[in-house]
């Protein structure tokens, strides 16, 4: 996915593995039981956004690198 950046905030991730359940091609467990991105092209944008929504911590951020727009999470959800 060109222009799309996905990242996991390790200060938020609680290791629920929900992102791995919903998009196993993109996410994996790291050594601490948190999430890490193994293939940022493993899903299309629609799937990526719907997986990011599943995160109970809003730890997954999806951005458009070209416009700088944050596609998820919306500002009112960030904590």
């Amino acid at each position: 996915m060109e222009n799309i950046k996905v990242s996991v905030d390790l200060n938020k991730c609680v290791g629920s593995q929900l992102c791995i359940m919903f998009s196993p091609t993109v996410f994996e467990r790291d050594g601490n039981g948190q999430s890490k991105i193994v293939n940022r092209n493993g899903a299309n944008l629609a799937e990526m956004l719907s997986t990011a929504e599943q995160c109970p911590q809003c730890a997954i951020k999806v951005e458009n690198t070209q416009t700088g727009e944050v596609l998820f999470p919306p500002p009112e959800l960030a904590f």
């Binding site: 200060n11 593995q17 929900l18 599943q54 960030a78």
Partner: protein, 410 residues
Amino acid sequence: METISLNDDLMAPNVISDPHGYYRTLREAEPIHWNARWGGWVLTGYNEVVEVLRDSLNFSSDRMGFLAQELTQEEQESIAPIFKILSYWMVFRDPPEHTALRMLLNKHFTPIAIERYRPMVRKIVQKTLDKVLSKGKIDFVKDFAYEVPMTVILELIGAPDLDTEKIKEWSEKLGVFFFIKADEPRRREIACEGINALVDYITPLIEQKRERPGIDLISLLLSAEEAGSITANDVLATCVLLVFGGHETTMNLIANGTMAFINHPDQWDKFQKNPDLLKKAVEELLRYDGSVKSTVRWAKEDTQVGNTLIKKGDRILVSLSGANRDPQQFTDPDGLNIERNPNLHVAFAHGIHVCLGASLARMEVEEAFAGLISRIQCPELVEGAQLEYYPSVVHRAIKELPVYIKPLIK
């Protein structure tokens, strides 16, 4: 050995009234402590707690299965109705059964999905505030904290008319099954009565939804049953879990949070002047005095945690409150700081069982405190009030919180 001087009575009155002090002593001596009296490990260090919670391969949540192994045939039969429900609760199951149920329900409990209930919660909060302001002196638990969560969960399952008093009574009976009242000789019978009553009450509702589906969670579970991804038992057990689990814990957090502010009026003042701190403040209330103090796991394999070898078959009390006050993770852990950031607490646990209702609970508690700080002064304890907590290892629950409520004069 140091171990001998540690008090292993998890239900001792001083442990119930001040769990944080007790867990601090334990953590400082041995963050992984063998409690001979309970016959299991007690984990109070953040790293140890997080390691176990995030490792569902080695640490099982199937507490009903393990319990069954410890009971005689006769004992097992005496609690069959409880087993039939509780062993289907996702909180007590391991993958892969856990995964199917969790993925199904999670979509309806995401931070974004929960937003649509916010206006409803805001209204309930305002109505409840009108009521308590007209009284002036209230029991904060019963008169304020209880109202919001119960109403919301019934709305969610599509049954706003259920009798909340009855559900509360039966839930409490079911609660007796765990070791809350180990000295109650009829505890198994009482718990069976509770669960049978809940099941009898909920079953017709499920049947009604089967005939006339709505947009509620019961209808959703039923459509998953029809599609073959879950069983009829899963549907029933999950309904009971949502009704049982969906209110008490949230109510307790609202009460514990208020108590925290009563003890830290400077933080209340700061909050009132900076309502934007709402989300951070709620996270801090969860960390500071969360309503679920601990959970339990069983080792499926010999596993090293820190320097300690936990043996296959050992049980572990995972102290969430202990981890939440670990100075290695949180600076000034015994202080309340509503601006704390980052704040990766474990109040909703970590790992695959992390609370399904977390976003719902957060939103409800946010709305409760947003309402409180916009309309009242910091509540004041009624003079001479003796605060008592329910004798529970798991739940941090104040029995009554008598306070004066005064309107904010702007």
